[in-house]
Symmetry: C2
Subunit: 145 residues, 2 copies
DNA sequence: CCTAATCCCTCTAGCGACTGGAGGTTCAAG
DNA sequence: CTTGAACCTCCAGTCGCTAGAGGGATTAGG
């Protein structure tokens, strides 16, 4: 109905053009109709769908989770327990990462504060990296797998 | 001198075996001597080097940064300004991500708290994802690029 | 109607930082 | 000397994009 080009859709959602095509290629976003010349023509429903994905990504959900949530959204009479579970999981994950990042920040701050701005041999930044014993040692990895 | 096998090195540093080999392949970790049969034999200096990398990774430094820091560590009489800059940058990055994650946590909490545990059509989790207007809207993306 | 500028197409390959598996070799204890 | 654990190489896959090459489509202006 609205006949939106991919560039326009990109501007309206803040999702880059290659990313939109990528989402289509992995089945996250419905394939739109094409113009006579083969260009993608989106409508309001795609806009909505892509905003859903974008918002979910911003909140840190993985594409698999979003697929599941999208799926639920399309069946409004089913129970939302699964959605709730996914969101709670995500929240727990975010809390975990926050805790890790806070510990990391603490150590980075100490490193930076103690740097004497002299020579590498006296530099707290490099000393700390070389010897974990110099720091509290209870900062968990930030790896976000 | 110490003749450490890769498995032992892995256990001592908490770095997985394939990761150790990967580090060697990209030139992050010095290639060790080999046994007569071609197996890697590490010594104390590798242990130290790998702990340096491990600790840096735990603090969220990228491998390129760590390469630079390692390089500096090996030239103790040079100025540590560059090291300081890298660490400050990393700290700024961590602060940015903390801010993003906190915003994300806030919205996730609201989503979860308002879920009525009924049917998808009334589920705040899915409603929020569908319509960004329902939330404050100022949570920045968590993408960690 | 024609042209130029802008947009869009597919396809392939790459990023960072690993992780895992297949299929084969070596080491160390008994 | 045998056995089983540990090691080797090579390749492919993960996640979520992102970029570039080499072309075709669309659209606004003249």
């Amino acid at each position: 109905m609205s006949d939106i080009s991919i560039g326009r859709l990109s501007r309206r959602t803040g999702v880059k053009i290659p990313t939109i095509r990528y989402y289509e290629s992995i089945g996250m976003l419905d394939a739109p109709d094409r113009s006579a010349g083969g260009q993608r023509r989106y409508d309001a429903s795609h806009l909505e769908q892509l905003r859903f994905i974008r918002h979910g990504r911003d909140l840190g959900f993985g594409l698999d989770d979003l697929r599941a949530l999208q799926d639920m959204a399309s069946r409004p009479e089913t129970s939302c327990d699964a959605a709730d579970r996914i969101a709670r999981q995500q929240l727990a994950d975010v809390e975990r990462r926050l805790a890790g990042l806070r510990a990391v920040r603490t150590e980075l701050k100490r490193m930076v504060a103690q740097c004497s701005h002299g020579v590498v041999d006296d530099c707290r930044v490099i000393q700390t990296l070389s010897d974990h014993g110099l720091c509290d040692g209870d900062h968990s990895p930030d790896r976000t797998p």
